[in-house]
């Protein structure tokens, strides 16, 4: 029995405990844990790439009562994303918090959040998903409240209340599933699931809960204030990772577990809400006065794109076209995570330098921080979906799927969304040009600027040029249940 899947969870969890015991060493523990987790995930990636899905049952107890951890390629791809983003944001955070009190509060919760996220990605039964979802939510709320000000705490409270309602809805769905099928293990469920009212009710309940957590329109209202008022590394993690977790669960449920029980028309609702999210989020990002608020609304819009994939994936018959579209969905999620985290880290740098993040007045700061401005530009390119970023290839495949399934009405939405994204990205970048002397000093603060730059480079160059590797890894056997069918 392979014990490797345990480590991505245990390392951050153990480190969180250590950070509570030794608060002054928090930063060291955090970065060390991040590196170790990344290494372990790398090993897991190699294993899954060569041998397929890896399984580990905790304590040797069989699923049913015991907890099984399953690492398939979708989970591992997201694990890699999470480890990289968390490492970069964590490294950034070592320089961000000037107040020692904040530092000692930050690290334990940060590591706990990471442990919860990894546990969710590796979970193989529905109840475990609920528990890890709650853990993730609670730690995210605590991190969001670290900003300290009244606005941050109010936003965090709203996030908490709304998130709890969502989790309870999810739990109710889990209850219905157990009532009908008598098991919660996903592989076992996949074998027996039927298209019938019990399944639909469960799916509806769980989806409602997840829609709240993934901030899909119209349940998105909690996101912009929470992400905008949190400290920069927290915003990065919230937008890039926490919200993605909910989308991951949607993928698991709609495209994996419940796939044979679905009615294709129901996916159209998700797509429609996604389309509205794209337009509404982009519009508000265009009008935003503050950089971090712009980034938060941009997250709402970008998640909308991910939801537009759902009706397309449900409508496509199994085969290479569907695999390509699925790979595109994963690629877009990955690119967004890296680009958005880079954007938030860069925005944090700017805010620290200028004392504010009002876009209109950022000109001088942008010129004084050329590396950060370059990071903003790279991240912006990935957010708009311009080549050579991974998002461009994902967008191409999205449009291609829309044409292939005859659902061409998504095309104008995606086009309009991209153009509006270009509008708000270049609105910010336009301020980087101005009269004045050239800048003599290139790098202002390596610890804060380099992680953001690396994240942006991954989003724009690595995922763009190496996208074929993502497709090769994810498309075949990505889903738990496909291995079985």
């Amino acid at each position: 029995m392979n014990s490797l899947p345990v480590w991505p969870i245990m390392l951050p969890l153990g480190a969180a405990l250590l950070a509570v015991l030794w608060p002054r060493r928090g930063a060291w523990i955090g970065v060390a844990a991040g590196l170790a987790t990344l290494a372990v995930v790398g090993l897991l990636l190699a294993q899954v790439a060569s041998h397929g899905t890896q399984v580990h049952t905790l304590g040797g107890w069989e699923p049913g009562l015991g907890i099984a951890l399953r690492a398939d390629s979708l989970a591992v791809a997201l694990l890699l994303m999470s480890s990289l983003v968390a490492l970069a944001a964590g490294w950034y955070a070592t320089g961000y918090f000037s107040d020692a009190g904040r530092q000692s509060q930050f690290w334990p919760i940060w590591l706990l959040m990471l442990a919860a996220l990894h546990a969710m990605l590796l979970s193989a039964d529905l109840f475990n998903l609920y528990v890890t979802l709650e853990l993730l939510g609670l730690s995210a709320v605590a991190l969001a409240a670290l900003g300290g000000g009244r606005a941050a705490i109010e936003a965090a409270l709203r996030y908490l209340i709304v998130g709890l309602l969502g989790s309870l809805a999810f739990l109710a769905g889990v209850a219905v599933m157990y009532a009908r099928y008598g098991t919660l293990d996903m592989l076992a469920l996949a074998a027996v699931i039927e298209p019938e009212p019990a399944s639909w009710l469960a799916l509806a309940l769980m989806t409602t809960g997840l829609l709240v957590k993934s901030a899909l329109f119209p349940l998105h209202f909690w996101l912009p204030p929470a992400h905008a008022n949190a400290p920069a590394p927290v915003s990065a993690a919230l937008s890039a990772l926490v919200v993605k977790a909910a989308v991951y669960l949607m993928i698991r449920l709609w495209l994996d577990l419940f796939a044979p029980a679905l009615d294709p028309a129901s996916a159209w609702i998700l797509g429609a809400l996604g389309a509205v999210a794209v337009l509404w989020g982009s519009w508000n990002a265009l009008r935003a006065q503050r950089l971090k608020l712009l980034a938060a609304y941009s997250t709402v819009a970008q998640l909308g794109y991910l939801f537009i994939f759902f009706p397309l994936l449900v409508a496509l018959p199994a085969g290479p076209t569907r695999d390509t579209a699925f790979g595109a969905l994963v690629l877009m999620a990955l690119t967004h995570a890296f680009a958005k985290s880079a954007l938030f880290l860069a925005a944090g740098m700017i805010q620290q330098h200028a004392g504010h993040d009002r876009i209109e007045e950022l000109g001088g700061t942008a010129r004084a921080l050329p590396v950060t401005t370059f990071t903003l530009a790279l991240a912006g390119v990935a957010l708009v979906g311009l080549p050579p970023s991974g998002a461009f290839l994902a967008k191409w495949q999205l449009l291609s799927s829309a044409f292939a399934t005859g659902q061409w009405f998504w095309v104008p939405v995606v086009a309009a969304g991209s153009l509006m994204a270009a509008g708000y990205v270049f609105r910010v970048l336009g301020f980087a040009f101005g009269p004045g002397d050239g800048v003599m000093q290139k790098l202002a603060d390596g610890r804060e600027e380099i992680p953001a730059l690396l994240l942006a480079i991954i989003a724009t160059a690595v995922l763009g040029l190496g996208a074929a590797a993502v497709w090769d890894f994810v498309a075949p056997g990505a889903l738990l249940t496909e291995a079985q069918r």
Partner: protein, 94 residues
């Protein structure tokens, strides 16, 4: 399904709805927190109802375990909410 089972299940649904209504409509934070706990209680009732296997038989242990886990999670969440609420009240007095 037996009468008891149905009663528990319906109570659970009823509590869930009441709690939902309370969370959305109440103004005070404390009221909302209590309402969410009511919501949670409703879901736990559902699980308890599911655990029933018939007269004279031992109930299914798994849903009970799930309920216990759920209670722990609910308590932690409530604690966090109360702590944040207190912080909020303190900041109002600054």
């Amino acid at each position: 399904m037996l009468f008891a089972e149905i009663t528990y299940a319906l109570t659970g649904v009823g509590l869930f709805s009441l709690g939902l209504r309370g969370t959305l409509l109440r103004r005070s934070l404390l009221g909302r927190i209590i309402a969410i706990n009511v919501c949670g209680a409703g879901v736990f009732m559902l699980f308890v109802a599911i655990a029933y296997r018939g007269p004279g038989q031992a109930p299914d242990a798994l849903p009970h375990a799930l309920v216990l886990t759920g209670i722990v999670v609910a308590v932690s969440a409530t604690a966090l909410a109360l702590a944040l609420g207190r912080r909020l009240r303190e900041s109002k007095h600054e």
